[in-house]
Structures are given as C-alpha cells and as structure tokens.
Amino acid sequence: MKKFDVIIIGGGHNGLVASSYLAKKGKKVLVIEKNEHVGGLAEYANSLSCISPIIKKELNINIPNIKDTDYIISLEDNQNHTILEDKNGKLSFVKTNADEDDQKTFLSIINNYKLFSKTLGSFMYQKPPRVKSGKRSDLFQLMSMGWKIRKLGKKNMRELLRVIGLNIADDLEDNLNNDNLKGLLSHESVLGSNLGPRSPGSILTLLYKQAINDNIFNLKKIEVTNYINQLEDCCKKNTVEIIKSSQVKKIVTKNNSVTGIQLNNNEVIESKCVMSNADPKTTYLNLLGAEILDTDFIRRIKNFRNKGNVAKLELVLENEINIKNIDKKMYGKFIYAPNIKYIEHAFNANKYNHYSKNPCLEFYVNDNTLSANIYYVPYLINASHQENEIIEKCVAVLNKFIPDMKIRQQKLITPNQMEEKYNISGGHWHHGDLEIDQLLMMRPFYGSSQYSTPVNGLYLCSAGTHPGGGLTGINGLNAAKKIIEDLK
C-alpha cells in the first residue's frame, strides 16, 4: 500500500502549482488527473496573461511574452470599428468614431479602475481573514485591508466605495457618450459572469478580474501549453507522482477526518491530507458526499452560484479570414458588443435559461481559424443545447464582418460539455461567480474559506477559492502554504 503526505485531486494548473510547492517542502505528493494530460481548463483559455510573477520566480518558470503590442478591436455594425492599442499595458486609440472628450474620459476611467484594482490586487496573496475566528492574525489582516483602502486618499476611497456596489452601465452612461466604448467596457465586466451590464456589482467584477489579470483587457501574452509543460516538469523535478487517466470516486473519511481516496477502479490510496482541485460543489456533493456534512453547510453549497454561460466556438474556414475595414497588422482581440442595450438584451435570455438569439462575441483570428467565446449560452440542467442553432446565430453575427464564410469545420463547447469534460459542475470558468458575496473570506462560502473545509485534512485549491479563477496559480500557492502551516 502506497502512502502519501498529500494527495491532490485534479491536475489542473492550481493543483500542479500546489503540488510543486508542497514537494519543494519535502512532502510526498500524488496528483490524480482524470484526463490524459494535465492542465485542465487552462487549455481552454483564449487569453492568458496573469500567472503570478511570484510563482514564475519561485518555480523557475520561464515563458517569454508572445508580443508586447496587442490590439483590441470593438466591432460596430456600420464598420466604424474602434481599435485600441495596448503597448506593455499602456492603452491608446488607433482609430475610433468617438470624439476626443470621450476618448479622454474612457482612458481616465480605465486608469481610475486600474488604481482601485491595484488595491484589491494586494489582497490576492494573503489568505483572507476569518472575521469571527478571534485570532489576532486575522484581525490584523482585516485592519491592513481596511488601511489599504484608506491609503487611496479621501477622494479615491470615496469613489471606490461609491462604485463598488454599482452596475457598470450606470457609471459609463454618466461619463461617456459613445455606444461602442460603453459596450466594450461593459463586455469586459460581464464576460464569464452571471451578470448583465445593469446588474449591481458588475463594476466590482471588472475590478476584480482586472486585479487578477493585471490588465483590464485580458490579453493573450503567453503560450498555455508551454506554461503547463513547464509546470509539469517542475512537479516531476520535485518528485511529485502524477497518475493520469484515473478518476477519483470518493474521498474516504472517518470520524470527520480524511483517511484517503478511492479511485474509480476501487483502489484505495491512504493519506491524512487530501487537497481537492475540483470545484467546491463537485468536491463536497460528489467526492465527499453530502451525508457527512451539516445541513446548513449543504444549503450554502447549493446556493453557491456556479452557472456558466459562455460557450466556445472553434471554426476552421476554407480560406484565410479577412475582416472588413481592418488592417491585418492590427488583428488582435475582437469584441462584438456594440452597445449596453445589446448586451443587456442578450443577458435577458440567460435569465430564463435560454441562449441569446443575438449573442455577444469575443474572438481571435489566426489565418483560417477562428476561436470565439459566445455569451450568453447558459448552463442547462437536465436539458441539452440546440448546438446548430447557436452556431447559426453566431455565424450570422460574424457574417457582418467576414463576408463569404465557407466553413470547413466547426466545434462548439457549451458549459454543459465543459462540465462533463473537466468535471466542473455548472461549467463555469471561475468555478463560481466573482461577486461580492462570493469573494475573499466568503469564497466559496462561509465555513469553507481559507482553503480549509469542515472535514479535518481536506483542503481546496481550485478556482472556487480565493482569489478566484483566471489562471493566476495563486489559489494553489496559498492552499499549499496553508497545508504546510497546518502540518507543522
């Protein structure tokens, strides 16, 4: 019988980061991955710019940036597209139909948001304080968080506290006139979350995503496969054992303490410490089993909002893709969300569990392939998507900008398929909405924060924990630290 100090369920990038850190501290670590290769949802990511520099440094991960200059193109029905240039994080307009005042205001709004998200960003590496624990360290941390907000200065602190619960549409409509710019920023705030531009808290979601990504327009800066391969190498170097194509059936417990895991082939591997990289709902309801959890806790698990609503479409065309009215040099991240009303209408369908007939799109183009995020395509319970119809609607939108599309291959990945493939209940990018009641010490929910669980020896390190999704790796780092602290 093999014995390990820590077993990690799921070889997603957070699991790999955590296992590297644990192994570096001399722990015997086993990683169990369901699919044939590790990396999990990372391979799904269109954009990736946000791996924590600390992790890169400490794990000796060396990945070059693809390019320094990137473009964001906000498409418009009359072909008056807005093109923004991002040069090492500095934004400027290349082409737009907005007047000069609007351009200035737009950039100043973004700068303002950047300032706020920096404050939020400084909370990322800390485990969030438990308010009622009575421990001095938690109290100190809470005070330091308050101090960081205060340090913004009176004016900025007031502004942050004003916008933190606000919806993005209100803030933009107060300051901007140009529909296209409003749509562009609203899109960035609601993509991947269960919010519309007029849902309260959508600004916070934007700030938070910005804090994670270190950039308001989440741009692709590095190669995902390269990153995952290096992570895997790092694990192997530190003698982490990785079992692939093997699924965990159950976390075995006795008297409220973890004793090991049981695989699908009924093999039991013993360990006093198990860390789950599966999302919180899957971990608690499927792997652990609700029978040994308190009813109030089950209620909180069930109330955790994790309904994904973004589908991914991969298209291969017969010939090279040419987008109307745009110079080929400036191809980058295309966004079709022409105005706030359009996004809000698309969101309306989502409320009633329908896909949007007029979807918003975010896509990248490479030669004759196109990869798009379509939203809103909600996760459906006990139902399946009409995939052809969704593709049809999506192609109809694309046709406005890419004439004569001849499709050779098409592939749609709906939230339901994501759930199945990556074992994420709800098929949500971030394992759960990034909203005010599901952040910091409340992520994933009360009673399960700080990476620990009600069961002794069971820890979480997935995107469902603080600081959330977005391929930062910080979840894995923080969780590993927590385990090392507890095992002492």
Binding site: L285, E291, D294, D296
Partner: protein, 400 residues
C-alpha cells in the same frame, strides 16, 4: 381547488373535525395553528383541563405537521437529522427526537413513527419540509408533506384506555408506551399510538379525514357515565406545563426562526442532553454539540416551585431576596397555578450558578388585580421540570 376557501373571507382552513369542534365551541374562540383554526377554549378551560386529568379529553391536533419519509436510506437520513441514535428502532415503535442546526442549536422536536425499515413518519409542531429536504441531499429518500391527508385527535386522560376498551378496540390495554398499531374503532380503521402531551395515560388517534366525524363521535359515546370533553389549546397548555414538556417558539426559539443568534438554545440548555448521542458517526450539529457539552450550558431550562398562588407569567428571575440589590439571572417561559398539584409552578431559564436542583431564585410577579398590578417578590425553588408524572402513563397493561 375551491377558490372560495382560500379567499380573504376565510383565511383559515378548517380541520376535518370542524363540524364537531364548532358545535362544541361555545366560546367561539379560535387559535391559529399552521393555517388551520382550532379551538382555544370550548366553554371553560378549567373544565376541559379537569376532564383530561380525571376522565379524558379530546383535542384536535390535525394541524400538526406530518412528513412521510420513504426510501432505502430512510433510517440513515433520520439518523443524520436527529441527535439520537435510532439504529435499533423496530416497526410500530415511536421515537422522540430533536434536530439541531450546524451550531448545535435546536430547531424543533418531534415524534418519529417507524412503519417499517424503509418507511417513517415524522410529526412535529413547526414546518420543516425545507430543512428535511436539504438534509436529505445525497440520500435515497423521498420526503412528502402529508399534513392534510391525515386527521388526528389526542385522546388524553386516565380513562382514555377504558373508553377505547368499551369501544371494543381490541387489546388496546397492551399497547406499550411509545408504540403504535392499527386498530378497528367502531368499524373505522385507525392508527392509535400511545403518545401524548399530558404526562398521563393517553393516546393519539390517526385516521383518514373522511372518517374524522365518525371517530370523533365514537369517543363521546359513553358520555353519560364518563364525561369526556373536547379540550382546547389553553387546557393543553396547562397539562403540558405540568408534564414539563417544552414547546418551540414558547420555551425556546427555533433556530430556524430566531432572528437574534443569542436566542437560540442547544439541547443541553433545554435539559434535553439525554437525546444527544455523540457516539453516533454523524449527524448535523455533532461537532458543535461536542463543544457545547465540553463547555457546559451557560443557562438551563428548569422547573420552578413558586411561593404563593399567583402564577409567575413572564416574570424575570433574580438572585436575591432583597429586591434592591438583586441581580437578574433568568426568565420564566411558562407558568401556571396547577390545580392537580395544588402548587404554583413555572418553567424558566436560570443562569449557570442556579440550575442545580434545590437552588433558590426569586421571581418578580406582576399580578393584575382590577386594573392595577400587585408586585410580588416570590421565592422559587429549582426543581425537575416534570411536575406531573403519573405511573399510569407507563403502566402495562394500561389502566382500564
């Protein structure tokens, strides 16, 4: 559905016994219970109380919430729900249990009827469907609210068995306490359990709503010799205080309903520690209850033998015979003058230092007397809650 019935004109539902209860209800004084109306007082509370203590009283308990638990994991589910271990429960047995939330605070209590290994019924005072369904996550059980499909009467009093015997209910005297069985009552198929809320010999009769009137009538058949009375909620309150039974949202706030966290109570504070089995592998609130037990209760629900004859309703309890230096140490939750015990009794919470049996505390009683209050500083002795516990209650065969 009959829309007239739920219109604003008739906001309260009527139980299947309503035809008879409204005839008996001379006072026309109704109590709202779970959306139904039941009699608070039929003619005289004292008289109804006397019938329960001397002959037998009939109480309409149809509004009680009834839940059907069916399925392969039914027993496992109940073992997770309640704090007691019911692994060894047999068919036709009844268990009394409480359920707590994750903080170990009591939500409600109820009786659990075991029909067979995979089929149970839970009867309780408050609505619990939501809690049961959430608790059932991960178990192979179905939970159904069957409240409106069963009519129920409590038949309580020293002559209750005798009257059932006269009604030719076969072998009823050998029904053990906390057991139930199916019987024939005047050609009606009914379920009778030897359970109740009076602390005396008594039964609860469960039947189909269509048989309700016939069952009711048969219980009054021998009224020429044995004066059986319909008893209202007020008289039920009297007998339950004497018997020392506690009631959610009267003696303690249900943890599901309390708004202020410090108003919730754990089983040890309610004197229900004997219902908690911490050896059981798992149930909701176990971890919290281990901590509560270790710490010991800060306050406890106790019985009080109050000096004088004025009931200490809603009184605040103090620690000293001298009013001017006395400190507040508790509160009375229920109080009455007990006619059968000829003493002034009360149930209340007292702080840690005073819950030992025999301790002395003082109640400030505000006794209304013709538009004025007489303030009485009454000495109280801490006693067991169970003021009235007649050996008849558990005797086998039952008294006929």
């Amino acid at each position: 559905m009959n829309t007239e019935k739920i219109s604003y004109k008739k906001p309260l539902l009527e139980t299947p016994f309503h035809k008879r209860t409204s005839e008996h209800c001379y006072a026309n004084d109704w109590y709202r219970w779970a959306g139904y109306k039941v009699a608070k007082e039929y003619s005289s509370t004292e008289l109804e109380y006397t019938s329960m203590r001397n002959t037998a009283g009939v109480i309409d308990i149809t509004p009680m919430h009834k839940y059907e638990i069916k399925g392969k994991d039914a027993k496992k589910f109940i073992n997770k729900l309640i704090t007691k271990d019911i692994t060894n429960i047999q068919s036709n047995q009844v268990a009394y249990g409480i359920w707590c939330n994750e903080d170990g605070m009591v939500i409600d209590d109820g009786t659990i009827f075991c029909l067979n290994e995979n089929h149970y019924r839970i009867f309780c005072a408050e609505r619990n469907l939501n809690w049961f369904c959430d608790t059932a996550t991960g178990f192979n059980v179905t939970i159904e609210d069957i409240s409106s499909s069963i009519a129920a009467l409590a038949f309580q009093g020293p002559l209750s068995c005798k009257i059932l015997n006269l009604l030719k209910v076969e072998n009823i005297e050998n029904l053990k306490p906390f057991h139930f069985d199916n019987y024939k009552l005047e050609n009606q198929n009914v379920t009778i359990s030897r359970t109740g809320f009076s602390g005396d010999l008594g039964y609860e009769i469960w039947c189909d709503p269509s048989q309700a009137i016939d069952v009711w009538d048969s219980l009054f058949k021998f009224n020429r010799d044995y004066k059986v009375l319909a008893a209202g909620m007020n008289s039920l309150e009297m007998v339950r205080i004497e018997a020392g039974f506690i009631q959610p949202n009267a003696d303690f706030m249900s943890a599901e309903q309390a708004l202020r966290p410090n108003r919730m109570r754990n089983p040890y504070e309610l004197g229900l520690g004997w219902l908690v089995n911490l050896d059981k592998e798992y149930f909701t609130g176990k971890q919290a209850l281990i901590r509560h037990k270790e710490k010991g209760p800060e306050k406890k629900l106790v019985g009080l033998d109050v000096e004088g004859d004025k009931p200490a309703v809603g009184s605040v309890l103090y620690d000293n015979s001298k009013k001017n230096i006395a400190k507040e140490i508790g509160i009375v939750t229920a109080a009455m003058w007990s006619p059968v015990l000829k003493s002034n009794i009360a149930i209340g919470f007292v702080n840690k230092e005073y819950y030992k049996l025999g301790s002395n505390v003082y109640a400030e009683i505000y006794h209304p007397e013709e538009l004025d209050y007489r303030k009485i500083w009454a000495e109280c002795k801490v006693v067991k809650k169970q003021f009235f516990n007649n050996p008849r209650r558990n005797a086998i065969p039952a008294f006929i």
